[in-house]
């Protein structure tokens, strides 16, 4: 399979901060590539580097087989970007926004009209085409933000958290559309905080943390990776914070988290430390109301690998 987008040892520093630390990724043509990572992991920085909004300190980025340094402007026409921050002219109507961006890509006449209609139907805003986005809800603006990136029918679409704040119904509509877009040959790079979206959508996933790619693989590969972990969930009452320190000190515990009476502990597999964990709980004066071993999700890979929850 052909590689449509490649980053080689990309490094980006902001003063003292290493925002991208030797990021190397190869994204094959025709896939939906998921890029996940906690806040500040460097996802947006990586995307900005790819669209050359941000200068990188070292490394190389290849888009459509051309190095960004030497690429002509032509490749831009094949690229679509949904920025994390909503990027719209709120003094133009929905239709005018798309018309403007479409024309910047050289579209005219019937072709332009068709593309605008398609892009607006994609996000279910065709009926609202004459409205001003000024009066739109946050979610509707997000949807228009997506449409603006699609009007020129790019071959590669990079979406930076495109569905934040969109209601579940519209989200499902958009996810289905993205899948359809992909079936028609568009390659998609997708970053999201919603694990379920990434699980549903992306065959290929990379996890970014502190500017580094800490895991990379298909859903299945990642699942295998986390299969060496065990997850224990307890429902407690009367918890205290000293409890968490105690649990984290238990042999074999890789990560622990306490969220409103729910204690989640990820341990190395086959350690048999459950008694010690229960001791910690009881010593802290908490009462165990329920106990459960759970199947690991992508979110748990996160917790394991980064020590943080994705939505922190």
């Amino acid at each position: 399979m052909q590689i449509i987008l490649e980053t080689k040892d990309v490094v980006k520093r902001y003063n003292g901060l290493l925002a991208l630390d030797n990021v190397s990724l190869r994204i094959p043509e025709g896939c939906i590539f998921g890029l996940i990572g906690p806040n500040g992991a460097g996802k947006t920085t990586l995307i900005n580097a790819i669209i050359s909004m941000t200068k990188i300190d070292s490394g190389e980025i290849m888009v459509f087989g051309q190095s960004l340094d030497t690429a002509d402007r032509e490749f831009k026409a094949k690229l679509g970007v949904v920025p994390q921050e909503i990027a719209l002219y709120d003094d133009l109507s929905v239709y005018q926004n798309l018309d403007f961006f479409g024309r910047l890509y050289g579209l005219r006449g019937i072709k332009l009209k068709e593309n605008i209609k398609e892009a607006l139907e994609f996000v279910d805003l065709w009926e609202r085409r004459n409205d001003s986005p000024k009066r739109f809800s946050g979610g509707m603006k997000r949807r228009l933000n997506i449409a603006c990136a699609l009007v020129h029918r790019p071959e590669l679409v990079i979406m930076d958290e495109p569905t934040v704040g969109i209601d579940p119904q519209s989200r499902n509509h958009i996810l289905a559309s993205i899948r359809r877009l992909n079936e028609n040959g568009t390659t998609i790079v997708y970053t999201s905080h919603y694990m379920d979206e990434v699980e549903q959508l992306c065959a290929d996933i990379a996890i970014l943390d502190h500017g580094r790619v800490i895991a990379r693989g298909t859903k299945e590969q990642l699942a295998d990776m986390v299969a060496v972990e065990e997850k224990l969930v307890m429902r407690l009452s009367g918890t205290s914070y000293t409890l968490l320190d105690c649990v984290k000190g238990v042999q074999g515990v890789k990560a622990a988290k306490l969220e409103s009476n729910r204690l989640t502990v990820v341990s190395r597999i086959r350690i048999n430390n459950i008694n010690k964990i229960i001791d910690c709980v009881l010593d802290a004066g908490a009462i165990i109301e329920g106990i459960n071993m759970e199947r690991l999700t992508l979110g748990d890979v996160f917790l394991t690998l980064t020590g943080r929850s994705l939505r922190d």
Binding site: I51, R73, K76, V81, A87, Y89, L92, L104
Partner: protein, 369 residues
């Protein structure tokens, strides 16, 4: 074609900005009406009387005859009553008594000096002091200078005329601008400076609305983008000033006659200058509000030193204001100033514009990068 798209949508967005339409169209139309009427009394007496000028030709040679016939010509008589006097003292007396507002005196050696090509002199005395009128008079003097050269001396004499007149001015009452005429021009220029806001928004909007990401990823060059915005702003500003000109002309009866091409090109150059100032402010200041504040201060400063307060004469200070040059060019063409003065004003204006525009473009690299 992409350039046209940018021009069209930038202009459309400018025109959708209601607050700016208010500032650019409604404000000047109201201001012109108010100032034109309220300050009309200042101008009124000068409107009614035709000025009278005492004239003494003591030249012993023939060259001054042409001046005499020129003064007697229909063209001149429409504006001035020329009364011949018999001696220098009589002219002086006419001035003193107020029966003449100016006294033109051609000395006996006039023709002789003319032949020597070292510059003959016509002496002109006047007691007029009104600073506001003085401004207009200087335009008129220029007109007289060049008119005299053309009609009486003829260019072939190789005659330099810049020190032709001894003292300031002579008044052309019938043709002098009324308050409405004056404030139509003054206010229009003042308001046009506020058009710099379009330049500021052009620089700031895409950053504020985050659309710079889309423009950056679209296959257009930053320069196309920048040029499109500049042109859109200039088109909008020219459109708006045309509305003000047409409205003040047909509704208020303000005088906008004169060389249309000169008027249009002056306003065009001034628009480009204004927009460039906006781009510059937008590039210099991080926040739109501060850029706008700076533009506002600049507008006040330029307007005041160029005579926005009507009767304050700022002298040489006025030359720091681009309004001064635009005004000089406009008054010049409308009230028949010397082509030289008009052209040099437009030249200065163009040079200033070019400088500011280049500076804005240099910043533009930063703006569009």
């Amino acid at each position: 074609m992409k350039l046209l798209t940018i021009i069209y949508y930038s202009a459309l967005r400018n025109l959708k900005d209601r607050r700016m339409l208010l500032i650019m169209l409604i404000m000047p139309i109201i201001l012109i009406a108010i100032l034109g009427m309220a300050l009309d009394s200042m101008f009124a007496p000068r409107q009614i009387e035709k000025s009278s000028v005492a004239y003494l030709n003591a030249d012993i040679g023939p060259s001054s005859n042409q001046l005499t016939s020129y003064l007697a010509s229909e063209q001149v008589r429409t504006f001035i009553n020329v009364t011949p006097v018999t001696c220098f003292e009589a002219g002086q007396a006419a001035l003193d008594s107020g029966s003449a507002e100016a006294f033109i005196y051609v000395p006996p050696d006039f023709s002789q000096n003319l032949m020597r090509t070292e510059g003959a002199r016509i002496h002109l005395h006047t007691s007029l002091q009104t600073p506001l009128i003085k401004g207009f008079l200087s335009n008129y003097v220029d007109a007289q200078n060049s008119a005299l050269v053309v009609t009486t001396m003829g260019a072939p004499l190789g005659f330099t005329y810049h020190d032709y007149f001894d003292e300031a001015a002579i008044s052309l009452e019938g043709k002098a601008p009324r308050a409405i005429d004056y404030y139509s021009i003054q206010t229009l220029l003042q308001v046009m400076l506020m058009g710099g806001w379009y330049g500021i928004s052009s620089v700031k909007d895409d950053g504020d609305m985050n659309t710079h990401v889309r423009l950056h990823t679209a296959p257009i060059s930053p320069w196309t983008h920048l040029l499109g915005k500049v042109l859109a702003n200039v088109v909008v500003l020219c459109l708006q000033s045309s509305v003000v000109v047409i409205f003040s002309k047909y509704v208020y009866g303000a005088n906008w006659s004169g060389n249309a091409l000169l008027i249009v090109s002056t306003l065009l150059v001034f628009s480009i200058l204004t927009i460039s100032i906006g781009f510059l402010m937008g590039g210099l200041f991080k926040e739109s509000n501060k850029a706008f504040g700076a533009l506002w201060c600049l507008m006040l400063f330029f307007s005041i030193i160029a005579g926005a307060l009507g009767n304050t004469d700022m002298g040489k200070l006025a030359r720091l204001s681009p309004n001064y040059y635009a005004k000089t060019a406009l008054f010049g063409t409308i009230y028949g100033g010397s082509p030289d003065a008009i052209h040099s004003s437009i030249l200065v204006l163009s040079l200033v514009t070019l400088t500011v525009f280049t500076a804005a473009l240099a910043l533009g690299r930063r703006i569009t990068a």
